[in-house]
Amino acid sequence: MSGRDVVLAAVRRATRTGVEHPGPHPAPPLPADFASFAATLAVAGGEAHGPFARASLADAVLAQARGWAAGGRIVVEPSALTLLGVTSIEISAPDAAPHSFADVAVAIARGSVGVAENGAVAVTGGDAPHRSLLLLAERVILLLDVANLVGDLHSAIRALPDSAWRAQLTFISGPSKTADIEQTLVHGAHGPRALAVFAYRD
């Protein structure tokens, strides 16, 4: 018998039938406004700016990126480039190796959905095809349409496109962190030391 047969046979012997699935959880009455989102993200160590009009988004984002990068490498994913409409910064090449972002100072990508109850932004494979970019970069900027802000995680997961479940999808809430030494909080564990969300109105 294969390992598969052994495990499945043992599981089938052990299970009974008739425990129903309780159905979906009703969305809780939680606020979905930008101020709540910004406050929760701040507790997680991130910063939220905006909401900006589309016309002024690029200037605000580039000022932050250049200030953070201090002459270092800035890389933008195509999803964000469309929003920023600038040509003066490096665009991630479609076939770039994941290791090629090891020296990036600031990475910029679009987020799909923001969650007010936990300050997280969902970044899909379509938003950021290079997963390693948003982890290797010293600092990360995510762009979020305030129309895509929801109150709770149930609503966020329902709002994502089906394609999100065929590649990778990450909810990011603040900079990477650890409290493994005497439970003292430190930002910038293995990933980014800082994270900013720039919200905009279309």
């Binding site: 294969s2 390992g3 052994v6 495990v7 499945l8 043992a10 599981v11 089938r12 012997r13 052990a14 299970t15 009974r16 039938t17 008739g18 425990v19 699935h21 309780p22 979906p24 959880h25 009703p26 809780p28 939680l30 997680a44 994941p98 290791h99 090891a102 109850e117 936990n118 300050g119 997280a120 095809p129 997963r131 390693s132 982890l135 290797l136 709770d152 995680l153 149930h154 997961i157 479940w165 990778q168 999808l169 909810f171 990011i172 809430s173 603040g174 990477s176 962190k177 650890t178 409290a179 493994d180 030494i181 005497e182 439970q183 003292t184 430190v186 910038g188 564990a189 293995h190 990933g191």
Partner: protein
């Protein structure tokens, strides 16, 4: 401290108790139909280009992982936290075969370099002081002697581990959930180590227990809203990644592990222990864990849930004695996000596990005889006080109790309570 943060986070969620109830019901349903959901997950994952393996026990898991690495000539592996691989002894297995396995969660890296086991599910090095970590990093990472600032120590570890992430040929992770509907793995970290370890190396191997299945993406939101709040008091962890396919040009292998879980599933009284999502809330609130620490349990998962799982999964005599090391206060049951009746489970194991060893029964009978006779009791305690200095220091083979092989008794005050009472407050009357 973690317990207080949990309570503050829970108070901000209006539907927390309803979430707990629904989470328990979803797990009970999934466990009841586990064969169906495992096969559904396998089918979807395969369609996404994922290779699925099945391991009936710990040894099978180790062999599957070893073979995957050996076939590709891989020597350098980065690993993120997985209690399952601790349970199955994967690190020592691979290290004995010449593979360099680096734990990348900061706490796990600390205990790995110290050569010891994690003492907490989510804070593995909670028993180590900053000075000890500083000395360790000085020896292994070249940080300055005497450095004990957590932020600067993390900076040294970041540089050291970043190089290992970039050089690794494979990443091994656990998984918090596996979604049957989509064939996705859900992996949660604050440090981002699992994400780096799965986005850089060309090979990703995820090892998970068969109880990690959930039916669909809606269900996973229920668990994610409970998990971080119960664990650290955060509304969500920094990185919650859903991986449904291998990275471009890479491979993703999933190993589904039984290792005693189907036996728990077959037990009416212990099945609900498989609802556990490994948040650590029961450890943080447990009066026994908080005093004794994780290493006192001597099994991979400490605390109330560890004492419930160990008799089935570790199944040694020491593991079967763990349900006795509890006051049954029920604080664990009160905080469990998936409503496992932990203290009832401990009690159930006491009923099912073999009774106390004969030597302890004899000791208890002698004690009962002496305590019922006040004059004999006074003589006996006087003798005990004379022997105290001989037995109080730790030495192997201490006849008083095996505990004293590694622990010292507190200093004796030199008189019995009755004597001190007569000499002080009793005399004032």
């Amino acid at each position: 401290m973690l317990r207080a943060k949990r309570d503050a986070a829970v108070a901000q969620v209006p539907d927390f108790e309803a979430l707990r109830t629904r989470a328990a019901a979803i797990k009970d349903h999934t466990l009841d139909q586990l064969g169906h959901y495992l096969e559904r997950f396998e089918k979807k994952a395969r369609a996404n280009g994922v290779v699925v393996h099945w391991a009936p026990d710990a040894r099978a898991l180790c062999e599957i992982v070893e073979t995957l690495l050996r076939e590709r000539g891989i020597r350098r592996v980065v690993k993120s936290k997985s209690m399952l691989t601790e349970e199955c002894g994967l690190n020592p297995w691979l290290e004995a075969r010449g593979i360099d396995v680096v734990d990348t969660d900061l706490g796990e890296r600390i205990v790995q370099l110290e050569g010891e086991a994690p003492s907490h599910i989510i804070v593995p090095a909670i028993h180590r002081t900053r000075a000890e970590v500083g000395a360790l990093f000085h020896r292994h990472m070249g940080s300055p002697a005497g450095e004990d600032d957590p932020e600067r120590l993390m900076a040294h570890a970041r540089v050291d581990l970043r190089a290992r992430f970039l050089a690794a040929d494979a990443g091994i992770t656990g998984a918090n959930f596996a979604i049957a509907e989509t064939g996705s793995l859900v992996i949660v970290t604050n440090e981002g180590n699992a994400d780096l370890g799965t986005s850089l190396p060309p090979l990703h191997i995820a090892c998970l227990g068969i109880e990690k299945l959930v039916p669909n993406v809606d269900d996973v939101a229920v668990f994610l809203r409970l998990l971080a709040r119960s664990a650290t008091g955060q509304p969500i962890s920094v990185y919650t990644s859903f991986l449904s396919a291998p990275r471009a040009g890479g491979e993703l292998h999933v190993v589904l592990v039984d290792n005693g879980r189907s036996a728990l599933l077959a037990s009416e009284s212990h099945r609900s222990a498989l609802r556990c999502i490994r948040c650590g809330a029961c450890l943080n609130t447990c009066p026994v864990y908080r005093r004794a620490g994780g290493h006192a349990y001597g099994v991979p998962v400490a605390g109330p849930i560890g004492a419930v799982l160990a008799p089935a999964i570790v199944a040694t005599a020491a593991a079967r004695s763990l349900p006795y090391a509890s006051s049954l206060c029920g604080s664990c049951t009160a905080v469990c996000p998936v409503r496992i009746d932990l203290h009832e489970q401990l009690l159930a194991w006491r009923r099912e596990a073999p009774a106390l060893p004969a030597s302890m029964w004899r000791g208890a009978r002698v004690a009962a005889f002496v305590m019922a006779r006040p004059r004999l009791y006074r003589v006996a305690t006087r003798i005990a006080r004379m022997l105290w200095p001989l037995l109080a220091r730790p030495f192997a083979g201490n006849p008083a109790t095996p505990w004293l092989a590694a622990r010292a008794l507190p200093e004796h005050p030199g008189a019995s309570f009755a004597e001190r009472w007569r000499a002080t407050r009793g005399a004032q009357r």
